[in-house]
């Protein structure tokens, strides 16, 4: 037995929500990463010698072989742009006043890549494979957040 909806405005509905909020804490490895970023402006990673793979941000364990890792390597501050995208619309599909550029960067010394903003690409089109460098917030403004990194900027070309 099926009933057709003849009067959609009279369909019985009940509005509601899912009343949960969350507080996420960074965990053991995340704590080491954010502390070094805030206090020293350093970007730390974790190296698994057995798998010859360097993770960034830090990890408590190697997902490939399950070895316990430490936050023992400092990466960057320069790296290579692996991919990027330019966003012209917001979450609701609204046009953005200023397009947002996001890049995946393999920091020097790392195997994993890091996602962050690409700052002021300027008029020159970005190119995959281009050299970029981390731009940090001023030390007194850092709070221990991924936003202590402002983003990546295209690295100054080496003078020849």
């Amino acid at each position: 037995m099926r009933e057709k909806v003849a009067r959609p405005d009279e369909v019985r509905r009940w509005p509601g929500d899912f009343p949960v909020a969350h507080r996420y804490t960074p965990g053991l490895a995340g704590d080491a990463f954010l502390t070094a970023l805030r206090d020293r402006g350093a970007i730390l990673g974790s190296r698994c010698e057995r798998c010859a793979y360097t993770y960034v941000p830090t990890r408590l364990f190697c997902e490939r072989c399950f070895a316990e890792l430490d936050a023992g390597v400092e990466l960057g501050p320069e790296g290579t742009l692996v991919s990027f995208t330019i966003g012209f619309v917001g979450l609701e599909g609204e046009p953005l006043d200023r397009p947002v550029t996001l890049g995946l960067v393999r920091l020097d010394g790392a195997d994993a890549v890091l996602l962050h903003h690409v700052l002021d690409p300027g008029d020159e089109p970005l190119e995959i494979g281009e050299r970029v460098a981390v731009v940090l917030r001023a030390p007194e403004e850092r709070t221990g957040s991924i936003l202590d990194i402002l983003g990546f900027a295209v690295a100054e070309a080496e003078s020849d």
Partner: protein, 569 residues
């Protein structure tokens, strides 16, 4: 049963904590690594990974299975998450059994993780949408209601003494004092302490309830051939069973968990267990509330209906008793990180049946045990029977081999202050809003309420009138046959006096939720009692609907304002 025999060969767990500093995936890794270490395997020896974790809303991560996969050892392997609410932890052992029994994989790593402390203001918020969004949620339900309603019904049906039920909480918290991973072990707790604890939703008091927790547990299972290579003391999965009852929980008699019996019979048949009370030597039934352990022991056919409470009182369930129940300390004592708590029961049977449970070891040489969990909307039973083929091996001196189980050293509790001030902590509100459609049957039911009628649907094959109505009968799977108007009166099937809101804020005056069996139907629904003193409410009391004035009705369950004691006509 076809397929290879499957054994548990290793187990590990984190501490269960009120709040862990570790992320969910870090907890999962600590447990998984401990389980592998316990049987001297590495991740490379694992052919497939089975993960379980309860609602995504606890960790606040959508697609939590994928999020947890690296910590569970899923990188580059066949990996899947299953989920049957609170039944999940034991179900993962069932999943591990068929993953290996199928012959597809030799060694599987089973991981259960829960991080409930992320949820604000209270993890109960994640449970509210398990209630029917049209017919129950407008009443402002609280998860405690369904436990309180079931417990009251159970107590009333058999005339049980709350002291006997409270003795389960005492036993488990005392047992947990011997568990190095326990959150709430307490060697000196008494029944009077439980009975003196805060009343949350009568008859449920604070110490009748297990604590919300963070934690993870992992177990390694292997085929017969692989198991014999890995260990000289495999513990066999002899039987598995699982079963689901109707989602219309207000249509069930809450006195007895038939779905647990169905799951137990399936597992016992497979294990060749014909006399459970004689052939099961140690039990780990699911104990999120003290009465639930007793309910489940009856469903597991280990006690006659209504007889488990006196067994608890008389010490039969103690570690040294005739049928040790929850020697681990259970959810009430070790803690209740939901999915992890279920798998902890499998790990406990593994340790008990190997003679490795240390301070918690049950005396004698138990040869067979049963673990069980329960969940969803009071409706799923998951059961696993495990055995050691005739007792753990003896040392040359004839003494049992006893060693401390390989728990992880991991697990860093985080204090309230540490949580509030944690570096880099991020707060986020889910902000998901919905508009739920009533659908065909309930839409018509709501039209009826607006007109001052309670409507049901008749199933002529099953000879029952369904309230709340549905267009199909879930028993015979036919379309139901027609609408029928039922009475405005009914009886109180069960009730609670609830003193807290869902986020644990005090309520004054208390609320009186009840399941009302509606006259002229075979069903009933959840509603509120009014115009009666809390002390005057009784199960079986005749009640009648009190309607809102016609002009205020909106086509809602709230068009009935409440039910009150029936006035003699």
């Amino acid at each position: 049963m076809s397929g290879t025999r499957v054994a548990v060969v290793g187990a590990g767990m984190t501490r269960f904590m009120r709040r862990a500093q570790e992320t969910g995936k870090e907890l999962a890794w600590e447990a998984a690594r401990a389980a592998l270490d316990s049987c001297e395997l590495t991740l490379a020896d694992v052919d497939a990974v089975c993960l379980t974790s309860a609602p995504d809303a606890f960790d606040g991560v959508h697609m939590k299975g994928e999020y947890l996969s690296d910590g569970a050892g899923g990188f580059g392997k066949p990996f899947i998450r299953t989920y049957v609410g609170g039944g999940s932890g034991v179900f993962t052992a069932i999943q591990g059994w068929y993953t290996v029994a199928s012959g597809m994989f030799d060694v599987a790593l089973l991981v259960a993780e829960e991080k409930m402390s992320s949820t604000q203001p209270h993890p109960q918020g994640a449970f509210l949408t398990i209630f029917d969004n049209i017919l129950e949620r407008p009443l402002g339900p609280n998860l405690l209601w369904i436990f309180a309603l079931e417990m009251n019904r159970y107590m009333s049906a058999y005339g049980l003494d709350k002291r006997d039920i409270a003795s389960v909480a005492v036993k488990n918290k005392r047992n947990a004092a011997g568990h190095p991973a326990a959150l709430l072990g307490q060697a000196d707790i008494t029944v009077d302490d439980v009975l003196a604890s805060e009343v949350l939703a009568w008859p449920v008091q604070r110490l009748d309830v297990s604590p919300i927790s963070d934690g993870a547990v992992a177990v390694v299972v292997a085929s017969e051939e692989a198991a014999k290579r890995i260990t000289d003391r495999p513990v066999w999965i002899e039987g598995v069973g699982w079963n689901l009852d109707t989602t219309y929980w207000t249509n069930r008699d809450l006195v007895y968990p038939e779905y647990v019996e169905n799951a137990a019979r399936m597992a016992y048949d497979m294990a060749g267990v014909k006399e459970p009370r004689r052939q099961i030597h140690v039990a780990e039934p699911y104990d999120p509330f003290d009465y639930k352990e007793l309910h489940h022991l009856e469903g597991l056919l280990l006690f006659e209906k209504g007889k488990a409470p006196e067994a608890a009182r008389d010490g039969v369930l103690d570690r040294e008793g005739d049928l040790p129940s929850c020697p681990s300390g259970g959810l009430l004592g070790v803690g209740n990180p939901i999915a992890a708590a279920g798998l902890m029961k499998i790990a406990e049977l593994f340790w008990q049946l190997r003679g490795e449970a240390g301070a918690r070891q049950v005396p004698g040489t138990p040869e067979r045990g049963v673990a069980q969990a329960w969940g969803d909307l009071m409706q799923v039973g998951t059961v696993v029977v495990m055995g050691n083929d005739g007792g753990p091996p003896k040392t040359a001196a004839g003494l049992p081999v006893v060693q401390t189980p390989p728990y992880t050293a991991g697990g860093h509790p985080l204090s309230d202050g540490g949580f509030r001030s944690a570096l880099g902590a991020v707060d986020h509100r889910l902000g998901a809003r919905y508009s739920w459609d009533a659908g065909v049957a309930v839409g018509r039911f709501l039209d009826g309420l607006r007109a001052g009628k309670i409507l049901g649907r008749e199933c002529r094959r099953c000879e029952r009138v369904l309230v709340p109505p549905r267009m199909f009968c879930e028993r015979c799977f036919r379309e139901t046959d027609g609408w029928i108007e039922v009475e405005h009166t009914g009886t109180v099937q069960t009730y609670s006096i609830c003193h807290v809101s869902w986020d644990m804020q005090p309520l004054d005056p208390p609320e009186m939720p009840a399941v009302i069996s509606i006259d002229g139907s075979d069903g009933g629904f959840l509603h509120m009692l009014g115009e009666v003193d809390p002390d005057g409410v009784r199960i079986g009391m005749d009640v009648e609907a009190v309607w809102k004035p016609v002009g205020e009705r909106a086509g809602s369950i709230l068009d009935i304002d409440h039910f009150r004691p029936r006035r003699q006509s």
